[in-house]
Symmetry: C2
């Protein structure tokens, strides 16, 4: 079993309830990588016997620290309509809420469609870029193959950069065919924009993240194991919170997901 | 009392519970304008005796139709930390969930800040543009003074436009000093991008919306009653769902809010 599938594995313990556990391969500096928590919450709906369709939107609120070890997950279908379904999600440890969230699922149908966003231009192919070294940083980074345009997006030399924009190819390591759960995790794989902008470490923590899925399951599966192209930037760093605005593209120029988060910082 | 304040008025009915009612002045084609529902949900936390700080992020999921008339609102503080607070929100009619949501509140502090997004350029001032006519469309539109660059963003002539981008000055009508509740409503005041792109009506309905607030209460209040500048676009229309990506700027070029939604459509 791929380590990512191990990391999001859920055992049903009752109606709308599961038990899971954090995975050492996806550890962050403290506690687990937020991306696997996003995938775990989404997986609570994906695995649910009452599930309808595929995910359209996912919101994850990081309400408190998650400790390494076991957790309880609740995935509650709040309302199911003919073609849409709304979920409330909550992860608890020791009875205390650590992560809350919501998801919208839906069935899609063929109809008039248009791709308005312009694919990123001029990005060298993955084979022409070096994989980012993963030594000396949080373990979860080694679970991804990231190839940044222009090398690592930060060097911690303390010289402020002109902006926080970065672009990178990214896929699971070892490679794994893309699905909604892994795409949800990749949506939280963008390094904190304040590291990129200031080239120095700061205390940070995501408080809320929303990801939007722009394709159906077939569109996700078509990507296979190939690298995705991720772009990320911040709009504003202000009095303790900044945003991250990011997009995840297929290797043939289709927008698969867009994702936004608000991050607490001290600087 | 300003009609907007009437529209978001809540009467406590128990712990974490309120009663409210839709407002005829903010009616949509069917049911109430979604923006006032966003403001009502946020107001449940804003008015709560246990509230900490100011809103950072708000997610609203439109789970089912809201009928004109009364509703019950639940605003549940899921976890309160030293400087952040997480809320679950739900609006019910006749015992059935119609809207769910979540909010993150926080206290902000002065520290290193940076404004990275570039303010929109070349927008004529509000006084140089005509107010959008409000006859013959949903009543809520008359509760806003909207002034679009290049006139109305859609004309329903059926000629597909090159893109769905639009820019407009917007403020409450009659004017009202900006606060987080009215800003949350304005975040949902952008017309459906499919109307703008296709210049024809389609059945649409927002399923999920997230808004991010990039300033504190003083930064919001500094805007007063003056027009805000709103920009909106879609990234992708695909098999029944499209996104709207929008920003709300102060009249002096500061980003106050960014907002994203996924919208169901048939076309």
């Amino acid at each position: 079993m791929h380590p990512f599938d191990e990391s999001i594995q859920l055992t049903p313990t009752g109606e709308h309830r599961y038990r899971g556990s954090t995975h050492p391969g996806y550890a962050n500096m403290v506690g687990p990588f937020g991306g696997t928590l996003c995938a775990v919450l989404l997986n609570g709906a994906l695995q649910h016997p009452q599930r309808l369709g595929d995910p359209i939107a996912l919101t994850v609120n990081f309400a408190g620290p998650v400790a390494d070890g076991g957790f309880e997950l609740e995935a509650l279908p709040m309302r199911t309509n003919r073609s849409t379904q709304h979920w409330n999600l909550a992860l608890r440890q020791g009875g205390e809420v650590a992560v809350t969230g919501s998801a919208v699922f839906a069935t899609r149908r063929e109809m008039w469609s248009a791709h308005e966003a312009t694919p990123p231009q001029g990005m060298p192919p993955p084979g022409a870029l070096q994989r980012m070294p993963t030594e000396g940083i949080a373990p979860w980074v080694a679970r991804y193959d990231m190839r940044f345009e222009g090398g690592s997006p930060f060097n911690f030399d303390g010289q402020e950069a002109g902006d926080s924009h970065s672009r990178a190819w990214v896929r699971d390591h070892p490679p794994r065919p893309l699905d909604f759960a892994s795409l949800a995790a990749i949506c939280d794989s963008f390094f904190p924009r304040i590291f990129v902008r200031r080239n120095q470490r700061s205390p940070i923590g995501t408080v809320s993240l929303s990801s939007y899925f722009h394709v159906d399951a077939a569109g996700v599966a078509a990507q296979g194991e190939r690298h995705l192209l991720g772009t990320a930037r911040a709009l504003r760093f202000h009095t303790g919170f900044f945003d991250q605005s990011a997009q995840v593209w297929s290797d043939d120029g289709h927008l698969l997901a867009s994702t936004h988060q608000m991050v607490y910082y001290r600087a």
